[in-house]
Chain length 590, copies 2
């Protein structure tokens, strides 16, 4: 048997079973795949239940499931040991970062970056990605947009997602390609949605290239995909394409598969430059996100996708919100000169048929210019930098992004509190004022005294005005606070990527610092060392270019969103004042 | 020993002792008079503490003080048994009403006025005023104006008041006149501040005149003070004097007596017709209130005075609030054609010296035209009414005043809740929004990116604007909600008087209904009965006149106060909108 930990409402016609918290069900199939198990309730009804929603009871006799761990937890641990074995102890810089636990910024809170020196020292072999799971999705639990909250499951449904319904070992369905991606999904979704955690060891061909390879390679490949960095008025910058494009995400449609057993939502994507649409499911977005993260994540913050969500995932409100956020994410990506021009991104938007999509998908997954190797594609047209300058730039970025992260969190906290008040107690109170005034007018009308009709009508109208104000107050956050929250939510996502980006930079700087010893012991040549400094300089130029991109976007975004907020707020208060003046005008003058 | 139930802060130089809730003190003198006891704390400090603030511990050996009862409770019970004895079982109509407990409206909630028939039947002897104490001051605990709340004692300090500091059995001071009034004060303040409970048995010469005396007197005295009732466009009405006056309450000053042991506040009263000032302490207002209640309370609702208060009674805010309410009370009284023209009221405002005041005071206390006898001064110039009509009028007034009481309570409840939110969480939240915006601007300023100074200055200003809005929000209730609350507070006071007024009427109607039996058994003559009907008719005309006065005031007052509220609210929202537009205008256009 298993105890249900959260309420789960079955989608009609979806072969699911509605269960309630505390209910005990019998497991008839512990893993039908895709994060589902089949169970039977006390009434004998059978159906699918998310594995995450139940905990196996010890009396079940299966000791390998510890009490208190969900089936999904166990499945996760299983898949993890498999992927850890697969990764066979290859060292990556990114895997060091995840050991800092749930706060990606903890390294920056320490007065000295002791983390880098101790765990990232030359030749050390980190233990792979085992710590990734502990990087809980802080953002979502602490700063989640209240409108996105739909039921108690949101904090716990990251490990599986309906849209990612091609199971690793499904009895119904076998597809090694999607199974692999599914595994990555399962193992990394918590980590990646919080801050960028490169799941490099999951991708064949990437386990090898580490920081050493980039810094010490005798000659960097000159790939076709060269990423230029120039020096403009504001310093180093990416080269912006002559024509830009956006991508319209629209028309979410429900589809189904597995003989109708599972359903999903498909979105229509239309790039504004081609005006030719492609369809993608959420899991494809997730695939793109992960590819971008693997490829550009050391240089460019890739904000995570909007939350996956189980409960109410087909509810209109949720679909609308997710689409809005997917739209925002796509727009961000389209706006970025490096991302938008990349092959993987272009291919995602422009494939012509299923075959072309699959081919492109495979090609992207075999790309070896990922992780820190992305810097090998960059050749800044700029003078070499010295190490002190590089380090100062890096520290400044760390200081700024940490401080902005704090500021954004503060605003999100306050905004969430304000949202709750504006949609909850405040309109209720205005409604009560309205009702009380109307009650009073009704009483007054019963006085039998002559000549007070005008007054009583006016009081009734004033009461109705307060009821209208109640609605205005309750609806207003969607018109202004919503956008302020969404903007900060997005920036929170960006900022959460910086600990990893800066980690790569700090790691490179440390390696250069330690390279004198290697020169002294003839492990590398002086020329090697010179190359290293030049390459760390390239990284620094990339960081500066990205920061300049970040700042110009930030200034534009915050200017826009605060202007919008103030404009909407002013209009809101003006509307209320007008309504009150109108109510006032109905009172007789005595 | 005794346990302190509420914090009490000593007034400096006032021989008082600061004590804290839960503290155990030794009682050195259980009753120094005026509601004070003398105690000693664990540090050996001695001083006066309000008896209401402590409970006697059983270990003290004085079994007559039950645990959980305050010293004041005991003193109250003592004084009550004395006055009950004094009243020697004289029947008054008013004393029946108080048996309905804490809700003066309970008789009106019942579908049939069973109360009148059962307990007010001819010749029954109610048990006096013993039930008065249970008529707790509901208004103050449930609907008290939040601004008036200053510490936990407000609900419990009715039984004694600093301003009524002439104790009944003080070791320092003997004054039989004030002691008598003090006894009435002590025994009735709870009841009278909730709804009018005629303390008739306290006043020599009044214990006698009951409803029978008025209804059955062969010939009514034709006193000089005749109260005319005419029939105008709106029905029966009082005759309004040609010139009206108001009375300005101002200049509260602290005085002291008992060798500086006790202090009080004295107010300056200036009637606008004479422009000659007199000074009165709160206890004099209380005396006037009680005289008006005794004399006119069966015909005219006399709203109770603003709450007496212990904690912070010399604090500026409290003095200001009490004066404002005393002013409102005096204005109400001046506005009433019967009250304002009465001898007792005129004498209160126009005595020339201490001697004249004392003489007038004694005369007023000896007045026998009190209670229902007030109706003997009224001779309506109108046709006689039949009993059915009289009863319908009475029921209609009961229905209306009960319904309005409910409506007013609802508005007060809502208003109090709104007040709390507007002065508490809401401005705090705006302040947080302001701070969060300013923090963000500070972070942005540290970016090192060029050309964002304008944006950051604008965000800082927007943040400051939200801090200003926080202040506006917190201050606003004083400008609008305050007056709405005060107005409803006043009307709550009026409406609380109606159960007693209507009780007198119902009682009279019942007696007339039962009079046929008395005629049949020759206990009264048919002429007696005819007189009775005529006199109940007089009462009905008085009620209708008073209701017309009430309605015209109500219409004027509610029109004014809701207009004021809406006007102030509209201005408030306009101000906020303006400030937001100003903040918006500082943002650079991109």
């Amino acid at each position: 048997g298993a105890r249900v930990m959260y309420d789960f409402s079955a989608e009609p016609g979806n072969n699911e079973l509605t269960v309630n918290e505390g209910e005990i069900i019998t497991i008839t199939n512990p893993d039908v795949g895709g994060g589902w198990l089949e169970g039977r309730n006390s009434k004998g009804e059978r159906g699918l239940v998310p594995t995450d929603y139940v905990e196996i009871l010890p009396s079940d006799g299966k000791d390998q499931f510890a009490c208190g761990n969900s089936v999904a937890d166990q499945a996760f641990l299983d898949s993890l040991s498999a992927s850890t074995a697969q990764a066979n102890a290859s060292a990556t810089n990114s895997s060091n970062q995840v050991s800092s636990g749930s706060d990606p910024w903890s390294a920056w809170n320490a007065s000295k970056p002791a983390n880098w020196e101790s765990s990232d020292s030359w030749g050390a072999k980190p233990e792979g990605a085992t710590a990734q799971r502990s990087a809980a999705n802080n953002w979502d639990s602490a700063f989640g947009h209240p409108q996105a909250y739909q039921g108690p499951a949101t904090g716990d449904d990251d490990d599986w997602d309906e849209d990612w319904d091609e199971p690793k070992s499904s009895p119904y369905f076998k597809d090694s390609e999607s199974a692999e991606a599914g595994g990555a999904q399962r193992g990394n979704s918590r980590a990646t949605s919080s801050s960028m955690k490169l799941p490099l060891n999951k991708f064949p061909g990437f386990a090898k290239p580490g920081m050493e390879q980039y810094l010490l390679a005798k000659q960097l490949a000159k790939p076709k995909e060269k990423i230029p960095i120039i020096v403009g008025d504001y310093g180093p910058m990416w080269v912006y394409p002559a024509s830009t494009f956006d991508c319209v995400v629209a028309d979410p449609r429900k589809g189904s598969k597995m003989y109708g057993l599972k359903s999903y939502i498909e979105y229509q994507l239309t790039p504004t430059n081609t005006n030719r649409s492609v369809n993608h499911r959420y899991k494809h977005f997730d695939w793109l996100y992960e590819r971008l993260l693997v490829k550009f994540g050391s240089a460019i913050p890739i904000p995570s996708l909007p939350d996956k969500q189980v409960t109410g995932r087909f509810e209109e409100e949720f679909i609308k919100m997710r689409m809005e956020r997917l739209q925002a994410w796509m727009t961000r990506m389209c706006r970025h000169p490096v991302i938008s021009e990349s092959e993987v991104f272009q291919q995602f938007l422009n494939f012509r048929d299923e075959k072309e999509w699959k081919t492109g998908k495979r090609k992207a997954e075999k790309d070896e210019l990922v992780g820190v190797m992305i810097f090998s594609t960059m050749e800044p047209e700029a003078p070499d930098l010295d190490l002190i300058e590089i380090e100062q730039k890096c520290d400044a970025v760390g200081k700024f992004t940490k401080a902005m992260d704090d500021g954004v969190k503060e605003l999100l906290n306050v905004g969430q509190e304000h949202w709750k008040r504006c949609t909850g107690p405040l309109p209720k109170e205005y409604q009560k004022i309205g009702k009380a005034l109307q009650s009073l007018a009704t009483v007054f009308s019963s006085s039998g005294y002559q000549g007070e009709t005008d007054l009583n009508d006016a009081i009734t109208e004033a009461g109705k005005t307060y009821e209208e104000i109640a609605s205005l107050v309750a609806e207003q956050p969607k018109k202004d606070l919503h956008f302020l929250m969404e903007c900060n939510h997005e920036y929170k996502g960006f900022l959460g990527c910086f600990p990893d980006i800066l980690g790569a930079h700090k790691g490179a700087i440390e390696k250069v610092k330690e390279s004198d010893k290697l020169v002294a012991t003839s492990k590398i040549t002086p020329q090697d060392k010179q190359n290293m400094v030049k390459r760390v300089g390239t990284m620094s130029y990339a960081l500066q270019a990205e920061m300049n991109h970040f700042h110009s976007n930030r200034i534009y975004d915050y200017n826009s969103v605060i202007r919008l907020y103030l404009e909407q707020q002013a209009q809101f208060y003006e509307t209320i004042a007008e309504k009150l003046r109108q109510a006032l005008s109905r009172f007789p003058v005595m």
